[in-house]
Subunit: 216 residues, 2 copies
Amino acid sequence: MANLTLTTFDWVPPPPRGFVRDLRVRWALEEAALPYRVASVPFGDRGPSHFAHQPFGQVPWLTDGDLSIFESGAILLHVGGLSEKLLPTDARGRVEATEWLFAALNSVEMASLPWTMSKFMGHPTDTAAWKFVDDFLKLRLKHLETVLAGREWLAGSFSVADILMSDVLRVVDGFGGLADSPACRAYVARATGRPAFAKAHADQLAHFAAADKARA
Amino acid sequence: MANLTLTTFDWVPPPPRGFVRDLRVRWALEEAALPYRVASVPFGDRGPSHFAHQPFGQVPWLTDGDLSIFESGAILLHVGGLSEKLLPTDARGRVEATEWLFAALNSVEMASLPWTMSKFMGHPTDTAAWKFVDDFLKLRLKHLETVLAGREWLAGSFSVADILMSDVLRVVDGFGGLADSPACRAYVARATGRPAFAKAHADQLAHFAAADKARA
């Protein structure tokens, strides 16, 4: 029996709330109906014990008994191994969910993160640097649009790949970046319409709201 | 018994030679001493059969019998499952290699790719956009430097995580980005000094050189 504790920050400023990556793990655990505890580490003062679990000083990490796992992709693969609701058990289904999980992080988020950060920080858009960033994301979305126009979920049935891909895409959507990608938009709506997403999202917001209250 | 075919482009222009991502897979297969064939798809005209294997029109993909796998991270996890030379078989070792494999792609390459592309394209460096990109990479390298100052390989012994991390870092190194990260530089030298890297690198260069000859 898994013995799961998810660690996230004790508090974050308002802008990233609803987007901190513990949400990906909460969502997966809610989908699989696996019980878990939530623990906190200081956002402001990240000490050696934090870096021992997450070498880049980020969150989340998940402990399962005496195993401690960082990187949302690695955590979701581990959680997927605990429930076939998240990761098919046949070889082909497992390969498909795994390759799409990597695609979410290394083909799509690698293009979307510079794009969303530029949008967030209001960088000028009349530069060669912006054109590269924008073209890079548009090309990836063009191909993803073709895929998502023909299927409900990336790997046959809903899987950890859909948690990561839709979480990546909803940030782009929030900045209007899916205006020309109706299948991607519908996919984000479909994924985030799931009760497990709503629960995970509400729980993250409540976690940080409780920290505001404790500080007040 | 695995029946492995690695597919890459038939030809690429000179700049990316030695860096096309089939190298990551060649390297892993050479380390594990697994036999494999190399197949080619047109660089210039990417048709439906290409997109059926790699939905973003990229390379590489690997077939293992009737399984076809894209994304270098997913391929390396699969190949790691074929050889304990690449992925430890105990639970803790497997988790460590897996989380570092994701870290190479989603914590380091997500920061390094915008940086190396900006360098390659000669974008101006007196902009807010460049400062963000440069600071993002430097912060990740700072934490990675601490880790690599204390260990030879990321996950105990050499693993697929080291193939991906060192392949990501050597591009940064090529643009002078590891000047202040001596442990990272030493790690890249250590990894790329392995005979399996040399074989994979030479084989990729020979593959594209043969295509030049056929075109001449």
